[in-house]
Symmetry: C2
DNA sequence: TGACTTTTGTACCGATCGGTCAAATCTCAT
DNA sequence: ATGAGATTTGACCGATCGGTACAAAAGTCA
């Protein structure tokens, strides 16, 4: 099979950036063509389903990345606290320290959510579950683990929105730092006291 | 002056909903016309600047609403804790308990931010400042008040994103409840101990 | 070299885009 | 009632939209 220019997968990153910058509706084929360096012919050769298939492929790639670098480590790594810290770092890198936006979150906000509702939902659901699982392994009871995971995801998404709104990536980094502190609170706790409903007595942390 | 159908201000709410649902690019004049009940002629009579002026007017209206119902009360109300609790309730109502999205946050995410950057930025900046001010009046030191305000805004924006992504308004309400608990922590403190860097000792809350 | 497949460029499609405009309709002071 | 001005209508504009068609180009391999 002749590979003249590229695998389909090679253009997914560029495709992702276009959707991030312009949204689904705003990403016109002409912009896509110019950013990927491919003409309509090639684009429709790779993605017979058009824009929708392109976006779906991008979402699938993002999902795969998060499975490999976030969800799986969160569940597999024995030391839950270490896993949490590592994946937070991975998240910071992924979002370019606040200079890059979450495509899935952005799609969720307007009516293009209806096209990708399933993928959007499972993306966040799996993230939430994996993080809650790690928190539970770190000693938290299931209920507060769930709540803290949810709070974490919201803080990340909100941090991205605000960082972009204020044009201040540092804002996202501060949000991540706060989240990290809260997630790892237990680490300044004596191993003996097994652990708190998150608002329980004691158990404080040093920030960073 | 003939008021056949409406004041310009009368159609702003409908206009806002269209932009919320479809984003700036996705909100076509035909959709706008059909949702406002106005033809292109009327629309361009009210908004000679076209879509951009429509969106700017909507943003201005939103901003005015927040000034009147959130920012000003946060600063004016003597009892800061009461002000915080009241404005949080107002926020919950405004976002229809998570069923409505934040237009300003949504615009911030893609390239339509460039058109409204100033308004987007000052909206969040003023909210953040007003909340931090109230927190300071409630006894927090300036630094932690700033941080807690920022965390609150991020939690709200993130809660809206997630609630919409998961199609679960309750998620936003939970986020608001957590935020409220954290903002009002001091209230279970003895008035004597004036108050904590947010991660300091003691000072806990009931999450009702 | 030549049959064959995959990839690419581009002309073209109907629909819709944001926006313009002249004419029709309406309101109100006179 | 009438005239001036405010408001509305809807046809129309060129540009661009997402998508299709298809032939030329580029690659593979017998």
């Amino acid at each position: 099979m002749p590979k003249v220019v590229a695998e389909r997968a090679d253009i997914l990153p560029a495709l992702g950036e276009v959707f991030r910058e312009h949204g689904f509706e705003g990403a016109s084929l002409s912009i896509i063509g110019e950013r990927t360096g491919l003409g309509k012919g090639s684009l429709y050769h790779f993605f017979p389903g058009g824009k929708e298939e392109m976006a779906a492929a991008v979402l699938a790639e993002i999902d795969a990345w998060f499975v490999a670098h976030i969800f799986t480590p969160l569940r597999a790594e024995k030391d839950a606290a270490r896993a949490i810290a590592q994946t937070l770092k991975a998240v910071e890198d992924y979002f370019k320290s606040g200079r890059r936006v979450c495509l899935i979150g952005a799609l969720a906000l307007n009516d293009s959510r209806d096209l990708f509702g399933k993928q959007i939902k499972t993306y966040f659901a799996r993230w939430n579950d994996a993080l809650a699982d790690a928190l539970a392994r770190a000693g938290r009871d299931r209920k507060s683990a769930k709540a803290l995971a949810e709070e974490t995801l919201a803080a990340i998404q909100g941090g991205l929105v605000l960082a972009r709104a204020m044009n201040d990536p540092a804002l996202f980094q501060r949000a991540l730092a706060r989240v990290k502190a809260r997630l790892l609170e237990e680490h300044s706790c004596p191993k003996s006291k097994p652990l708190p409903p998150w608002r329980g007595k004691g158990c404080f942390l040093r920030l960073d």
